[in-house]
Symmetry: C2
Subunit: 139 residues, 2 copies
DNA sequence: CTGGATCCTATAAGATACTG
DNA sequence: CAGTATCTTATAGGATCCAG
C-alpha cells in the first residue's frame, strides 16, 4: 500500500489557493491531467470496461488510469460497477453529475474552435520576435 | 540558462493526446496550474505590476510567477509592457484574446455554484463507505 | 523592482512484474 | 480481466542568492 507516495491529496475543493480565483478549485478538480479525456471517452463511447478505456486512451498507463478512475469515482463523476464473474468484469459509466459537465466542455470546445488559431499565431510571433532579438544581439 | 530542465515544452496546441478528447489541448493551455488565477487577477484587478501580482497571489513564488507570465505572454493571453526607468517598471494586462476567456470562466463558476457541493457529498459518501469496508474486513 | 541562476525536494508518471 | 506492488525517472515547484 502506498501512502505517503501517490497522495492524491489535499481536497482541491477546499484548497486555500482559491483566495485569488474562485474557479480555481473546480479547475483543479475537473481539469487535472487525464480527467477530461476520461470523461469525454465515457460520455461519447458509453459504458466501458477498463481495457476499453485503455484502448481509447492509448498513451495512459494502467496505473495512472486506475488512479484517475478512483479519483473520478470518489468525486461522484463516474460510476464503477464490479461484476464478480470469472474472469471479473468492471464497467465504468459517467454519472448524472458527470454529465452536467458536458455543456461546460462544449463551451470550451467552442472557444477552442474560435480562438486556438490565434494562440498559435501569437506563439509564432513571440518566437520569431525573440529569435530576431537574439540574432541582433549576436551582431 | 536552463534548457533540459524547466522545459515548458511540447506545444500543448499540437499535442497528440487530443486523439481521445478534442478539448484536451485547450485544457492544457488554459487550465494548467496558476494560469486561471493570474488571468482572473488581471481581469478583476486590472493592469498590474509584478509585485502587485505577487501580492494578489500570495502563495506563488517569483520564479513560478515569471514562468507562467512568460507562457501567457507567448500565448497572447496577456500583454507585458516594460518601462525602462530606474527602478524598472513592468506592467501586465490581459489581452483581448485573454478576455475572450472570461465567459468560459463564468460558465465554470456557474457549474461550481451548482454542483461543487455534490462533489463534496460524493467524497464523504465514498470515504465513509471505504472506512466501513475496512472496519468490516478487520472484524 | 523585476526577475535570472542555481540548487534542491516533492510529486507525478513510466516500466515492469505479478496476483485474485 | 482488472488491477496492485515496486522501482525508477521526469518534471514541477520551492529556497536562496544575485544582477541590470
Amino acid at each position: 500500500m502506498e501512502r505517503a507516495d501517490e497522495s492524491e491529496g489535499k481536497d482541491a475543493v477546499t484548497d486555500p489557493a482559491r483566495e485569488a480565483c474562485p474557479i480555481n478549485p473546480v479547475v483543479e478538480l475537473i481539469f487535472s491531467r487525464w480527467t477530461t479525456p476520461i470523461l469525454w471517452a465515457l460520455e461519447h463511447h458509453g459504458r466501458s470496461r477498463f481495457n476499453e478505456l485503455q484502448r481509447l486512451l492509448p498513451t495512459i498507463t494502467p496505473k495512472v488510469l486506475t488512479q484517475r478512475l478512483r479519483q473520478l469515482e470518489r468525486d461522484g463523476l463516474i460510476i464503477r460497477t464490479y461484476h464478480a464473474e470469472i474472469p471479473p468484469r468492471v464497467e465504468y459509466t459517467i454519472s448524472d453529475l458527470g454529465r452536467t459537465l458536458v455543456p461546460v466542455f462544449d463551451v470550451i470546445a467552442d472557444w477552442s474552435d474560435a480562438h486556438l488559431p490565434q494562440v498559435a499565431t501569437a506563439r509564432q510571433a513571440y518566437d520569431t520576435a525573440r529569435a530576431e532579438e537574439a540574432a541582433w544581439a549576436e551582431g
